[in-house]
């Protein structure tokens, strides 16, 4: 049998039962690899369930620093009898399968093309630990110990991590270390360690990874820190996976960093609202009254917030919404990742509305874009929706450290204070004085006799006086469109990279790929895979809506443009078709909407397939280069 080989390059997957404490053991495994300085990206693939259903944890190790999913599993650690059949089947030929052999493996689960490693996890723990709960919990530590031997994990790092985790709880530390050692010892005595897939500290890791001192963090925590650093003072929310940890983390940090030194009272308010309608209503009320306010939600919550998003758009109230996308309805797959709220976000609400969207692709961007979202909301006086997703929000990502420039000043936008109101000759809430569609607002209580106005949807004129005249309405919504145009120059620009040199190009067509958010990492990897096969593909990562002009140009400059995204209907492709002056036939969708994050192999496969069948139909637009 030809076994899979690889130093610092493989995918390990753990198959567990939900609620058995496997998450922290698996995290320990991933974190140890991270501490060894080797790029690692762990992913939790979990059911909407608290206890009992199958759950998986996929750990990708990549010396080149690819953090998206690769596709395929090289080694499976299966401690869940329920899913064992599919787990055995999912291992790549030449791969490895570790299981609990307290009970012998059923005959039909034996494959000739993979290697098996039986470790009597249950038996060892029954023998060694007296308490049933400990027997269950520490089983996880035993397999981590065995994996440490099989893959050559630095054992002292594992111990350090346990010491950090259970600081001061000596008993817990020693029982966990004992379990690790049991597994380690069993594996070294029983198997030939390490395996052909293994780790090597400081080995072949790409130089750009070694350049900075990386951190391991999830996007939701990063977004929460962004809200702290961006000066958010009001958070109103209603719990929904996968967004809940945004507010949890905000609360944790705010309790540490936002307590008034003199009185011990809070310089922030968090309200768990009765539903998402109320959550958004509170954010709108606070934004109207001059506080930086935000909420975090996911699909169903976005639907409920939709009416208020319309009001905030027309009434021009700053609002920040962190939408951590998941798949579909509450009885859909709420714990699975997708990018499927693109259109619901972009056109959220009734009437002619267009909302500003930000698309972070890394935790660091979650942090930076959340800060930026508050500035943009104030500057543009409109809702800013940051479109994260479960994969980014809830999984740990290796990332360069978060950075903060202490000279940062909040951009509170065009708000007139009492002094400025006194100086102003005329003031009308909706007068476009600067021609950028953004008008000057005032806050309640600012001035005894000037600047008061009545906020409504759209039945108003430039002076904020009630009006149902058609021309007033048209003037107002045309100005809002002008404002949306202005937004283009404030939102983050798309990212492009110099093209990869291809020795013997297989096609004369100019190829481009567009993607955003968590589709980016596997897309970059797919482009590199395809470059080795003779396809040169230029990339553009979209980071915001409204789209920058360079997006039109990018599409114009290419013959075939792949739009890579994680939803069924190609929502970003539709949005581009709607908003850009381009020929839709140029855009080819590359989609994944299974609920598990898109993989580099799947993207490369789809592009390869398209290029091997389609090119004849496409006439190169630039014959001179063809």
């Amino acid at each position: 049998m030809k076994q899979i080989k690889g130093v610092n390059d493989f995918v390990v997957k753990f198959a567990n039962v939900n609620g058995t404490g496997s998450a922290s053991a698996n995290h320990l495994f991933a974190k140890a690899i991270f501490r060894m300085g080797i790029p690692v990206s762990p992913r939790n693939i979990f059911p909407s369930n608290i206890q009992g259903l199958p759950t998986w944890y996929e750990v990708r190790v990549s010396s080149k620093g690819y953090l998206g999913r690769r596709g395929g599993v090289d080694m499976m650690v299966c401690v869940n009898p329920q899913s064992m059949e599919q787990d055995v089947a999912s291992v790549e030929p030449g791969g490895y399968f570790l299981y609990d052999n307290t009970k012998p493996l059923a005959q039909h689960l034996k494959r000739g093309d993979i290697s098996y490693f039986g470790v009597p996890l249950t038996e060892m723990c029954m023998r060694e630990f007296p308490v049933p709960r400990l027997q269950q919990l520490l089983k996880n530590m035993v397999y981590v110990g065995a994996m440490a031997a099989l893959l050559d994990i630095n054992f002292s790092i594992l111990k350090d991590l346990l010491n950090d985790q259970f600081k001061g709880k000596e008993k817990l530390i020693s029982s966990n270390v004992h379990a690790l050692e049991m597994g380690y010892q069993y594996a070294t005595e029983t198997f030939k360690c390490p395996l052909p897939i293994r780790l090597e500290q400081g080995g072949n890791v790409a130089p750009h990874i070694l350049e900075s001192e990386h951190i391991l963090m999830n996007g939701n925590t990063a977004a929460a820190l962004g809200a702290i650093y961006g000066g958010a003072t009001v958070a109103a929310w209603y719990p929904i996976t996968p967004s809940t940890s945004v507010v949890d983390a905000f609360s944790k940090y705010a309790k540490r960093m936002r307590i008034d030194a003199g009185t011990g009272k809070k310089n922030f308010a968090i309200v768990q609202a009765e539903d998402e309608l109320a959550a958004m209503g509170m954010v709108v009320g606070a934004g109207w009254n001059g506080a930086r306010a935000f909420t975090a939600t996911s699909g169903p919550g976005l639907s409920l917030m939709s009416e208020f998003l319309g009001l905030a758009y027309f009434a021009e109230v700053p609002v920040v919404l962190i939408n951590v996308q998941r798949s579909g309805p509450s009885t859909g797959m709420p714990t699975r990742s997708q990018q499927s709220d693109i259109l619901a976000g972009a056109y959220a609400s009734h009437g002619d509305t267009k909302q500003v969207l930000l698309f972070p692709a890394t935790p660091r961007e979650c942090f930076e874009m959340t800060v930026q979202a508050f500035d943009l909301a104030d500057r543009l006086q409109t809702p800013i929706i940051m479109m994260s997703d479960l994969d980014l929000g809830m999984n740990d990502w290796m990332s360069p450290p978060l950075e903060w420039d202490d000279t940062y000043e909040m951009d509170r936008g065009k708000v007139l204070n009492a002094e400025e109101l006194d100086k102003a000759e005329t003031w009308g809430r909706y007068l476009d004085v600067d021609g950028d569609g953004i008008c000057y607002r005032t806050l309640p209580g600012a001035h005894p006799s000037k600047g008061a106005y009545f906020t409504r949807g759209s039945s108003k004129n430039e002076m904020a006086v009630y009006s149902e005249l058609g021309e007033d309405y048209v003037q107002n919504v045309d100005r809002l469109l002008r404002k949306f145009d202005t937004a283009k120059s404030y939102v983050p620009r798309p990212k492009t990279h110099p093209p990869i040199e291809v020795k013997k190009p297989k096609t004369d067509l100019k190829l481009g790929a567009l993607f955003f958010g968590t589709s980016a990492s596997p897309s970059y990897e797919a482009v590199e895979i395809l470059a080795t096969e003779g396809y040169s593909i230029n990339t553009m990562r979209i980071r915001a809506f409204p789209f920058h002009e360079s997006l039109d140009q990018f599409i114009h400059d290419h013959d075939v443009v792949f739009v890579i995204e994680q939803n069924r209907d190609g929502q970003m492709r539709q949005l581009i078709m709607n908003e850009c002056q381009i020929a839709p036939s140029k855009l080819t969708s590359v989609l994944n909407y299974s609920g598990t994050p898109i993989t580099a192999r799947a993207i490369a496969g789809k592009i390869r397939e398209t290029l091997s069948t389609q090119p004849e139909n496409v006439v190169p637009l630039h014959p001179e280069t063809a």
Partner: protein
């Protein structure tokens, strides 16, 4: 109704402690139907703010959607106002109050706005005891969508189309008492001698102050057979008068023993309540519920200050909010800076 308000102001109009005349509390000209109860409530709010000498610009007016929710345009033109979305005024008011706890918040809603689409938010607003005055202009119907029954329409009340309402009405005042509102009053738009002091007391109260005001819709619900018409309401009113004495004024009037109960608010203002029934204590929730229910059983509408807990803890106190308004805080208070971020990075390695 559209008419031109006279611009001319009498030079000797009385002024309040701040030097403002009542005209300084005016809003735009009303566009509601002539005779609509809501206009009387607008006037009562204006007069109450004038009499209590509140700074107009330190008041924020927030409403939902409906004829009633249009009212904030028609009083306090020097105050900011927000006509938000149907049934969701409570959440907007909550957010606004969290952003700046120093303003006085007046919410105006309708029976449709509060008792149907907004019921959830209303209950939760009470639960949080937001420091605000919440007035429902209760006409038993949806005025703005042309007269459908609302959830407060009484059982058997006949609509303009001639149908008797087959459902029990929701009594918002009882509900508010039951849910623990710290100030609950009821009044009638046609009784300004009661409504004005009630609004003044509500605005002086620290915590959630709810006033259910029967406010007839002359266009869709003022006919024979309707239980919320002017004449039906007048015939069944059981009025408990009250006086409101702001903290700065000395008490001049003498009140008879027994039938008068005096309550001191947190700011030192005093409310004197006059009741026919001496056993009724409006600072006792059970007693208040009993009085309201008894009146209802007897076909009377008990009005006045029904329940008051002058020592309630409001939302800001309950969540330990600092005293400085959140919307005044700047970078120094809010942004922890690069050193802290570096230490956070360190913890993530």
């Amino acid at each position: 109704m559209s008419y031109i308000k006279p611009k001319f102001r009498h030079p000797n109009l009385p002024t309040n402690r701040l030097g403002y005349t009542v005209a300084d509390y005016d809003g735009a000209v009303s566009t509601l139907c002539a005779g609509c109860g809501h206009d009387s409530i607008s006037a009562a709010i204006r007069n109450a703010c004038f009499a209590s000498a509140l700074e107009p610009h330190r008041i924020a007016k927030i409403s939902g959607i409906g004829c009633s929710s249009k009212m904030p345009t028609y009083f306090l033109g020097k105050s900011h106002g927000f006509n938000s979305v149907h049934g969701r005024m409570p959440s907007v008011a909550t957010g606004a109050s969290l952003a700046n706890r120093d303003l006085t918040y007046v919410g105006v809603s309708g029976d449709g706005d509060t008792a149907s689409i907004g019921m959830g938010q209303f209950i939760h607003l009470i639960r949080r005891n937001l420091n605000m005055t919440y007035i429902v202009a209760n006409n038993g119907c949806y005025g703005l969508t042309k007269g459908q029954d609302s959830a407060t329409a009484d059982l058997g009340s006949v609509s303009k189309a001639g149908d008797a309402n087959p459902f029990d009405g929701i009594d918002l005042a009882s509900l508010a008492i039951l849910q623990g509102a710290s100030f609950v009053g009821r009044s009638f738009s046609g009784d300004k001698t009661q409504l004005e002091p009630l609004i003044r007391a509500a605005m002086a109260h620290k915590g959630f102050a709810f006033i259910d005001v029967v406010s007839p819709c002359v266009t869709f619900n003022n006919h024979a057979g309707s239980t919320k018409s002017y004449s039906e309401t007048r015939d069944h009113l059981d009025v408990m008068p009250l006086d409101f004495v702001p903290m700065r004024e000395e008490i001049r009037t003498q009140y008879a023993e027994g039938t008068t109960q005096s309550v001191t608010l947190h700011d030192g203002s005093v409310i004197h309540l006059h009741k026919a029934d001496t056993s009724y204590r409006s600072d006792d929730r059970k007693s208040a519920m009993h009085a309201v229910q008894t009146a209802e059983d007897e076909g009377r509408i008990l009005t006045g200050l029904l329940y008051l807990d002058p020592d309630s803890q409001d939302l800001h106190q309950n969540i330990q909010l600092a005293s400085r308004p959140l919307n005044e805080l700047g970078k120094d208070e809010l942004c922890p800076g690069s050193k802290v971020l570096n230490s956070i990075n360190e913890g993530l390695r």
